[in-house]
């Protein structure tokens, strides 16, 4: 489509935009935290003070210092650098899960909402069956079959998360599909694909965003748990769940830093995404 400005999407009037930004500091805070985490992951090699994998046995289990702001772990690796580099794998996994599950879930939702009838019935039953598999167990099964690493759990969790997204978006899409503007598009002669893509989907995006944000938090916890159990990301790669497990032995020696800070990174990230989802729900409800 041509991007002629006066005709295409026009930015909402000033008042609406101000409401989005100014009135919800919590929402803004979540966005800032998430943006910072993403930047941290992207720029990890530039901002990390040390090589995350460089161990120094002589400097093991150090407390915080100017050179190591968060201290070092049991083999003398800089914890801050590992957290910063760990953001890459820790965020990449959930991001892939969310993208795959959202794209798949929204596609299933739109097709079932559009076609209705038998297609909807069959798809809904298949989703019900998928609901019966808890994501983590599904992922462990996948690891058992395809080996450890990030790939198998990501694929398994994408499949496990798809029904949740599909179900919520489907019910929103059914409501949206019943609005007369959709029929106006049909009377105009638009193809179903175009109506879904240009009209239904944009109107459903707030719901999609909420689902994606919630799923991201859950996926991060699940993938971290798998890595913690040794089924996901393998050492010596830096990943937060893995770091919690690696640092466990040192806790008893009175050096909880490695586990503590990695755990905090997980908590902060999940909290940011869950609060974001919560604020988005409030905004769409308005």
């Amino acid at each position: 489509m041509s991007g002629a400005l006066p005709i295409e999407r026009v930015i909402p009037p000033g008042a609406a935009r101000r409401r989005l930004r100014g009135r919800d500091p919590l929402l803004a805070g979540c966005v800032v935290v998430i943006a910072a985490l993403v930047l941290m992951a992207l720029l990890a090699p530039l901002i990390a003070p040390h090589d995350p994998d460089a161990s120094d046995i002589l400097a093991a289990n150090e407390g915080s210092s100017l050179s190591h702001p968060l201290g070092t772990d049991s083999v003398g690796r800089d914890i801050l650098s590992r957290i910063i580099h760990g953001a890459r794998l820790s965020l990449l996994g959930p991001a892939l899960v969310v993208v795959a599950a959202t794209v798949g879930g929204v596609a299933v939702a739109l097709v079932t909402a559009w076609r209705g009838g038998r297609v909807d019935t069959v798809a809904s039953r298949v989703l019900d069956i998928l609901f019966a598999f808890p994501g983590l167990i599904f992922a462990i099964l996948a690891v058992a079959m395809f080996g450890t690493g990030l790939v198998a759990p990501v694929i398994a969790l994408s499949i496990a998360y798809l029904p949740y997204i599909a179900r919520v978006i489907r019910s929103a899409a059914i409501r949206e599909r019943a609005l007369p503007y959709v029929e106006a598009c049909q009377v105009a002669g638009m193809s179903p694909l175009r109506i879904c893509w240009r009209h239904l989907l944009p109107n459903l995006l707030p719901y999609v965003a909420v689902q994606a944000a919630v799923s991201f938090g859950y996926a991060l916890v699940d993938l971290s748990a798998l890595s913690y159990l040794g089924l996901g990301v393998q050492p010596p790669s830096a990943e937060w769940g893995r770091m919690v497990a690696d640092g466990q032995a040192a806790i008893l020696n009175g050096n909880p830093e490695a586990s503590l800070y990695a755990g905090m990174a997980i908590v902060v990230t999940v909290l940011a995404f869950n609060l974001l989802a919560d604020r988005l729900v409030r905004r769409t409800a308005q």
Partner: protein
Amino acid sequence: MPEPVVAVEDLRKEFPVPGAPGLVAVDDVSFELERGESLAVIGESGSGKTTLARMLVGLETPTAGRIEIDGEDRSRPGRRARERLERGRRIQLVFQNPYSSLDRRQPARACIAEMLDLHFGLSPDERDARVRELCEQVGLDERQAGALPRALSGGQRQRVAIARALAVRPQVLVLDEAVASLDVSIQAQILNLLADIRAQEDISYIVVSHDLAVVRQISDKGFVMEHGRVVERGSTVDLLDAPQHPYTQLLRRSVPGPGWTPQRRQRGVHA
């Protein structure tokens, strides 16, 4: 004798009811609409008039019967994109509720432009010019044309919907209770607008309404439907002033509905 722009023959629509014989919404309805004519379909809620309108524009598949629009058989909704577009260029619908018949994310101008893009390969300049022309025709100013539906009043939204329908220069415009949800003074404005449009363009109307005052104002002839059947037909004046069928007489005496105040009803009936 020129060929009618719409010819409907023995049109029938049954909705399946589980464990019972189908519900017959439209029962053997036939009519013809000449070019430039305005035909009223009168009836109360549940009389099948909206189902009839929906079959005409291809939103509903008839159980039996034949619809011919501009000489082409349009009995079934188009399966292929080309058929749908061709039908869309000939017949358009204005919905009852202007609050939900527009995409809430789409400014008026974009809504009309999308329609033009869909049907005609216009250059951006030509398209913008046509959008301006349409907005002017329906009486939308610059601000309104750039506004989202939520910033517009009911009457203004209905103007957008009319402009969208007119964008393809259809031969037939189906008005499905198009003014029923507007208040009385706005109804009058929209009805005047529709009358003006019919004077300017080569267009025919099918006015689906329960509101006899509306019918009187913008239709030449019409028929009355009860339980899916045509019970009486004739010129609007005859139908309203000298109804023959008991149902038509009953309609004339009663039928409260949205936007139907007692004073208005009296005006409608005794004017």
